[in-house]
Symmetry: C2
Subunit: 288 residues, 2 copies
DNA sequence: GAGCGAGTGAAACAGACGTTCCGTTATCTT
DNA sequence: AAGATAACGGAACGTCTGTTTCACTCGCTC
């Protein structure tokens, strides 16, 4: 029982057979693992509303020699993955521009990526994701438009949606035919727009075409002031790290894959179980 | 001096004026903050090679009432951002397949992204990044090849390298002309290959052409068993999260942007200061 | 309802801990 | 070179901590 995972599981599973006071401690331990790691027995006992001796009984009930030995497990939990992550976040907060050797630059973007992912989780509206899934699930054909720096995201959408067996059409503007490609959109289709500052004109153009033709459109962008904000619904605002105009697409790509997988699950469910599952597996083998 | 950031900065800045033993402790404290948070005075003293009393002198030198008070700062550091992040990582380790509502799926990929970034930092060889930069810096034209799921990475490379003012050529195989496009490669060019399981045949084909023609080639792939491992140098092995065959490109894209920025910095340096800087800024404004 | 056993609370104990103190050593000044 | 000052090592001290012990209570069984 040296890992916290094991201990946590043991506490959970043996909870019912514990005595009342021991349950009280189990409750407190799982809810305040930080206290368990740092505080003295007396402090924890007081906060949990038990006697210090009961804490030792608790530890012994889980085969530790005493409380101190159990406390080591709670401390190890804080040491395992944490320090490097928190450490690096701290660095980036202080030093904004990446400098030095290539691996220092890599370390910088890794940290910036962590940051972006954290924010992504906090800022995305669950209800908007739900709406986006429904929008895409009911579309006959899905058009995707994104230029320049956003283009890799579009390429990813096109590839992944194709894998779900959906009709996905990448409006790449090849041969200057973007608007002609977009002109084929119908009201039972859907459009995915991705655009970041300074917002390529071509993308806005197609967004307006979609609005005029009544084609439902969702958007991924970087600011509520973005011109495509009024042209899409739902709109996802993503804040990726940016350095010297080079935007890391970490958060954006994560949002993209999440949408695709959520959509895939929704389609599986609506088709119902086994058959759909087989279809997914069949699709899977065509990967590159 | 209640935040770890302040303490760290104070230790760094006052380091020169400290006595020899106190410097010894300063060194140890910054390198082993975990020990400082958890271990007893005697343990830390032994590991740092000083007497316990010296540790108290150290703490008092930074205006703490004693060692214990200073230790609280090191402990607080571990509590601040940690639990949620480590907690989520733990969940993902247990539950591999994402299920549930769209935002739960998003949360899953966010955590997987954190994971992938952590590993990226540990696994990438700094020396290989250095070599890759030199390779790309000295190339006349940079060719990029990647198919299907890897294609978004190639698109990103092509866009970003173009922004550095380099000749970047995306071998997209349009119209089945991939090999003809590749045939233009010369020995003073360079090739970037990106390929993940199951390794598109077209990419391997072009990799062989490059080898036969003596064109230096770097590779990003997902396994040492990948067929392009022997065809490239340096080779970067990246382990992105994968769910139901949908590969999150988080780590790969982070590596890509890092390479590009490191390369950009190298070019700036070799061109020398102001002029190159202005060029970068000029390029910046053309972004989309 | 009496006897039994596990569970619990509170105080006592032994050991460890952080801290202080003082003799010694090193470093810089005059 | 000698003194003065700061730094240091190591032992001693008093406190605090984890643990143990034991008396007591509660809940069950016969």
């Amino acid at each position: 029982m040296q890992s916290y995972d094991d201990l946590e599981q043991a506490i959970s599973s043996r909870y019912p057979e514990l005595s009342r006071r021991l349950q009280q401690i189990a409750h407190y331990a799982l809810e305040h693992p930080n206290d368990m790691a740092f505080e003295k027995v007396a402090t924890i006992a007081e906060r949990a509303g038990v006697q210090p001796s009961t804490l030792i009984r608790f530890a012994k009930a889980f085969a530790y020699s005493g409380f101190s030995e159990m406390q080591q497990v709670f401390r190890a939990r804080l040491m395992e993955t944490t320090p490097s992550y928190a450490e690096r976040l701290r660095r980036v907060r202080q030093q904004q521009s990446p400098e030095g050797s290539p691996d220092q630059i890599l370390a910088h973007f890794i940290t910036a990526g962590h940051h972006a992912l954290d924010h992504l989780g906090q800022e995305i509206d669950p209800e908007a994701m739900q709406r986006a899934c429904e929008l895409l699930a009911s579309a006959e054909t899905i058009y995707i438009v994104a230029q320049r720096r956003s283009f890799p995201v579009a390429a990813y959408f096109a590839y992944a949606l194709g894998h779900l067996g959906l009709h996905a059409h990448l409006v790449d503007g090849m041969g200057g035919m973007a608007e002609q490609q977009a002109a084929a959109m119908r009201t039972d289709d859907a459009l995915i727009m991705v655009s970041f500052h300074p917002y390529a004109e071509e993308t806005q153009q197609i967004a307006r075409v979609a609005r005029d033709r009544g084609v439902p459109a969702m958007a991924i962008t970087d600011s509520p002031l973005s011109p495509i904000c009024q042209l899409g619904d739902p709109v996802f605002e993503v804040h990726d790290g940016e350095v010297q105009s080079f935007r890391s697409l970490t958060a954006t790509m994560t949002l993209a894959i999440s949408l695709v997988v959520a959509l895939g699950q929704r389609l599986d469910l609506s088709l119902g179980g086994a058959g759909a599952c087989a279809q997914t597996r069949e699709t899977r083998d065509r990967n590159a």
